[in-house]
């Protein structure tokens, strides 16, 4: 009986959501733009250890191997993150990575991306990726759920190791939180 009800319910839900999706398809936000917004939100909900920077110094969001996300981030240029204007930049090597607050490794990062990560040491940089192969070595990894929704997993141990404090609000919204 319950099963029948569930089937009926899911059928109606499917029908209505299919209609809604058709209606929303035109104005649907592109995935990379959404990822850029997510990066901005992560920055908002994370506390960095004080570095003694002046407030007009930028908050650097570095992108490696994700051109589309980088371009999408340009739309958020200048927005305040903890009082500092957001600035996005593409980096190519481990030297440039030192100035980053947040490092996004795109799907194209590949092996070079892993090398970049290895060279970070314990620098206070929030690492984010959407490359499943790098997921186990970054603090926040973007995933797409079964419901085609963009979600994220958090490895709390990695964040703590870099002296980053993630807001409980962020943790609550995470798809998975791995404490170790």
């Amino acid at each position: 009986m319950k099963r029948v009800a569930a089937v009926v319910l899911s059928l109606t839900l499917f029908a209505s959501s299919a209609l809604a999706m058709a209606a929303n398809a035109a104005q649907r936000v592109p995935e990379f733009a959404m990822k850029a917004v997510y990066l901005y939100n992560f920055a908002q909900l994370t506390n960095w250890p004080p570095r003694g920077e002046a407030s007009d110094e930028p908050f650097n969001v570095c992108v490696f191997g994700g051109d589309e996300v980088f371009h999408a981030l340009e739309a958020l240029e200048g927005r305040k993150v903890n009082g500092h204007p957001l600035h996005s930049l593409q980096i190519e090597d481990a030297v440039a990575v030192r100035q980053c607050h947040l490092l996004f490794l795109g799907e194209d990062a590949g092996r070079r991306g892993r090398r970049l990560l290895d060279g970070l040491g314990d620098a206070s940089i929030l690492t984010v990726t959407d490359d499943p192969s790098l997921a186990d070595s970054v603090a926040v990894s973007l995933v797409v759920t079964e419901g085609k929704r963009l979600a994220f997993d958090i490895k709390l141990g990695l964040a703590k190791g870099r002296n980053l404090a993630l807001s409980s609000k962020l943790l609550r919204l995470a798809n998975r939180v791995i404490v170790e």
Binding site: M34, V37, Y38, N41, Q44, L45, R79, K80, V81, N82, S167, K169, L170, R172, L173
Partner: protein, 418 residues
């Protein structure tokens, strides 16, 4: 005068007093109650308002991150915590571009919103709803828009309860003042209605005797009561004076004709009833006209007074003497059974009146002719008796004056003959 004023005028005093006290109670309580209800309304409304605002602020804090990430599930979850607040009707969370992210409504179905405000933080107070609209911020950046609508039903329930309690309080006060005013009214109206009854009694029974009860209180009612008493006393005094004027001959102090006739009727009635006899004696002065014409009216009047004095001297105390007019006097002698006694009395009278009198430096001598008839021996009607006494008196006058005659039927024949 308006209808109400007229109506009020014709109410009895207790009803008037009762109405006035009730009106006073209402007048005193009405401002207090309205001020209390107004104050209660404002303070409860303000506390509900701030409660709703605090609630909205908490929700917007909790929902901020989910809004930023567009996380519908989490936002729904946060909004559904509103279920714990019983007065929340509905809530909606909009993204920056206006698309709804999450909704909550207590009945499941979304209701019509009280109004859709522009996108500024505000609280709108309606008659039965409060709408709180707040921006949702993640850090400094605005990520969404939250509206929560709360019912004002508890406020109305509370006001209703308050009004009911006030009504009960008013009823109790009216009942208490009713009891109090009944006692008060009793103290005021009972003496008044007593006085009214007394006035009716006086009017109906012409009874001017002093009332048994006179209120001894020092207030207006006591004063009215005493004034009424004084008025009755004045009426009694006037009546006494009037009856003296009506029954007394002012010159001699003897009974006048009217009083004498009343008394004669009584005596005749009594004689007829009890079988005891009475005698009517007519007495006419001889030469009075001469004295009056010679010495003047003043001497004539003094003479009449002297005659009255002598008559009183000679007669017994229970004989009734009256002056019928001019120089005519009459006497009723009760229990006059035997003619001999009457003859003696008549002789005494004739002698006494023929003795000279000194009146205002004048020596005057007159005489008297007396005739009498007896009841019931001669007649048992007043008119008959009067006529017989008159006949007897004329017979005495004719017989040479200064003498007396008892009535006998022969006298009538003599008169007819002459």
């Amino acid at each position: 005068m308006s209808g109400w004023a007229l109506w009020f005028r014709h109410r009895p005093i207790p009803a008037k007093l009762k109405l006035i006290t009730h009106l006073l109670v209402l007048l005193a309580l009405l401002p207090i109650i309205s001020i209390n209800i107004g104050y209660e309304y404002l303070s409860v409304r303000d506390s509900m308002r701030s409660e709703a605002e605090v609630r909205a602020n908490i929700i917007r804090e909790n929902v901020a991150a989910a809004t930023a990430f567009g996380d519908r599930e989490s936002a729904d979850e946060t909004l559904s915590s509103l279920r714990a607040s019983p007065n929340v009707i509905q809530a909606v969370l909009l993204l920056r571009d206006g698309t709804p992210l999450a909704r909550f409504s207590v009945g499941g179905e979304p209701e019509r919103w009280m109004e859709i405000p522009n996108r500024t933080d505000q609280t709108i107070l309606g008659w039965n709803r409060i709408l709180v609209a707040r921006s949702v911020y993640l850090k400094e950046s605005r990520v969404g828009w939250l509206m929560i609508e709360t019912s004002m039903k508890p406020l109305h329930d509370r006001l209703l309860l308050y009004a009911l309690v006030s009504l009960v309080a008013v009823l109790i006060s009216i009942a208490l003042t009713s009891m109090l005013s009944r006692r008060l009214t009793h103290g005021i109206t009972t003496p008044l209605s007593d006085l009214m009854d007394l006035a009716r009694h006086v009017t109906d029974h012409q009874d001017y005797s002093p009332p048994l009860r006179v209120s001894d209180s020092q207030d207006e009612i006591g004063g009215l009561s005493r004034a009424f008493d004084t008025m009755l006393a004045a009426i009694r005094e006037r009546d006494a004076r009037l009856s003296q004027i009506a029954y007394c001959d002012s010159l001699t102090g003897l009974a006048n004709r009217h009083a004498f006739m009343e008394r004669l009727q009584q005596s005749v009635d009594q004689a007829r009833r009890s079988g005891k006899s009475c005698c009517l004696m007519f007495l006419d002065l001889d030469h009075f006209k001469f004295v009056n014409d010679t010495y003047g009216h003043a001497v004539g009047d003094a003479l009449l007074r002297e005659v009255a004095r002598r008559l009183k001297n000679v007669m017994r105390n229970d004989d009734f003497i009256g002056r019928l007019g001019g120089d005519e006097f009459a006497i009723i002698i009760e229990n006059a059974a035997d003619g001999a006694g009457l003859a003696i009395a008549s002789g005494k009278l004739v002698r006494s009146l023929s003795e000279p009198m000194r009146i205002e430096e004048c020596d005057v001598q007159i005489g008297a002719s007396i005739g009498f008839g007896r009841c019931p021996d001669d007649a048992d009607k007043v008119s008959e008796l009067m006529r017989m006494a008159d006949v007897a008196m004329y017979a005495a006058k004719k017989g040479g004056k200064n003498r007396f005659r008892a009535y006998s039927p022969d006298l009538e024949q003599d008169e007819r003959r002459s």
